[in-house]
Assembly symmetry: C3
Homo-oligomer: 213 residues x 3
């Protein structure tokens, strides 16, 4: 049996990740009464926003600009999410977990891309985080929802941990394979645990606030 090469799986999973980001973006961001076009904008920005900011900062061609497939997928997924919002909403938890897989994958892809262009590991870890969270943050700003920085849900932290793990692996075990798969697994599992058991930072790592406000 022929098996697809790893890079192809990588690409296919990236496409699936875009679709899932777009769908969860619509489910999380859409408000009653938004029209179809607004929904599509919400979905597409959630799906493509993070990678776009990453590529702008790295000053490399924006990933979707020479491959219409990304736009087509993000757009179609948003339309599907619009019409199937009710059944999809029932499986929102399952979608969140798929979303965690997408985030995990995009993180590794962003780190690989950043390092391939010769930037430092620190920048690579930051690009993983930017790729994972920017789309959702812009979506929440546009939709008038509180964004993940204001919430205690663990979303960005798994990306950070996985990114640091991956960089350490690449530094000390450059010839040992499966580092990227492990990094994906780590982000996904922490995110999965965070969803499953509603993990948060311990109390002493939450901002105490000011007395007067």
């Amino acid at each position: 049996m022929d098996v697809l090469p790893f890079s192809t799986w990588y690409y296919i999973m990236g496409i699936i990740g875009i679709a899932v980001f777009s769908i969860t973006g619509v489910l999380a961001g859409a408000k009653r009464g938004m029209d179809l076009f607004g929904i599509v904008i919400i979905g597409v920005i959630t799906a493509l926003g993070g990678g776009t900011l990453r590529d702008l900062i790295l000053d490399v061609p924006v990933f979707w600009i020479n491959n219409n497939l990304y736009i087509a997928i993000a757009l179609s997924a948003a339309i599907v999410a619009f019409f199937l919002a009710k059944p999809l909403w029932c499986s929102y938890r399952a979608l969140l977990i798929l979303d965690g897989l997408g985030v995990a994958l995009f993180n590794v892809q962003a780190i690989d891309k950043t390092l391939a262009y010769g930037f430092s590991p620190v920048v690579a870890v930051i690009m993983g985080i930017i790729t994972g969270i920017t789309g959702g943050i812009i979506r929440d700003l546009l939709a008038g929802n509180p964004n993940l920085i204001l919430k205690q849900e663990l979303y960005a932290t798994p990306i950070l941990i996985g990114g640091v793990f991956y960089i350490i692996w690449l530094t000390y075990l450059p010839d040992v394979p499966f580092g990227s798969l492990l990094a994906i697994l780590i982000v996904f599992l922490i995110r999965f645990a965070a969803i499953k058991w509603d993990l948060r930072y311990p109390h002493w790592l939450l901002f105490p606030g000011k007395d007067d406000s």
Copy 2:
């Protein structure tokens, strides 16, 4: 009688579009008590924000960076809007219609520019939309107003329809002139009709919302 060449009209109309965007931006976004400088920022961002994001994504020089006229016009128009807010407010409807003309023009300019740099028609249509709506969206975020994605007013949809029309024209009738003028007219007329009759998407194309929120 000498007639100005088309490219000159194009340029002049672009300048007028910038001025109108800045004025309508101030009228739509300004809040009681904002100072003059805040108003100018609101106007300039509304007028130049969309084209700026377009050029950043296309990775071409930002259109106002080598021609101070754009900044000068956006800035002056915002100052005018500040001091003449009351009379201008009385003609807000007329200004909205001019704004529709600006959006229609910027759409065709963005598509032409994107195609001239060798990007795909899909990217070109998206750049037309980004150019038309980004400035107003940033303005609404800064001013704390609900943005057009949250509202049912038809603003982005006419741009999409005109953009698709224009791409089809360029593909199938590449040698037939007036395609750009027709595309401008289509966007303008749909936008005009949307303002005049308060057109919205039909009910089944509005997001139903979730049961629990």
Copy 3:
């Protein structure tokens, strides 16, 4: 006694400015209950956001992408601000004044950089403003706070005045030294006065608002 060269002072002060921006960013933007990672994101965006947008628009390498020190300083300062929020909050006024020094310095650095890349003085003044205010504006958007465009506090205006002064100096007194120091002093003193005496625009330069809303 050996004295460090001016460019070294410039660099050191820039680093201090980044740290102060990150700390004041956390104190101004953080809300009760945000987790440590959210706080770090708030601090880093406040400190690095303005220069990032400036460099994206100028299409030059983003200043922190080839020098990890900026990220390290912004990150560390945000962590310090998280754990020492209470004592730092007591000296918030002193920090605001340091922040004014940072803004003053970044303004001159942005103008120098923009002119060095061959852009016009008008663009240079705008880049000084963008560098000074963008980080704080994004922070306020993310934190759900009213941003400086909505407030009457003088923050952007001192930058504008100092920038115009600096450009005039460079144009008419190109060989006379200390223009940059004077420009820094001007921005700092106006900002200091604005904080000390709560300076605002006169009434006739505040937007009157619309009658019907």
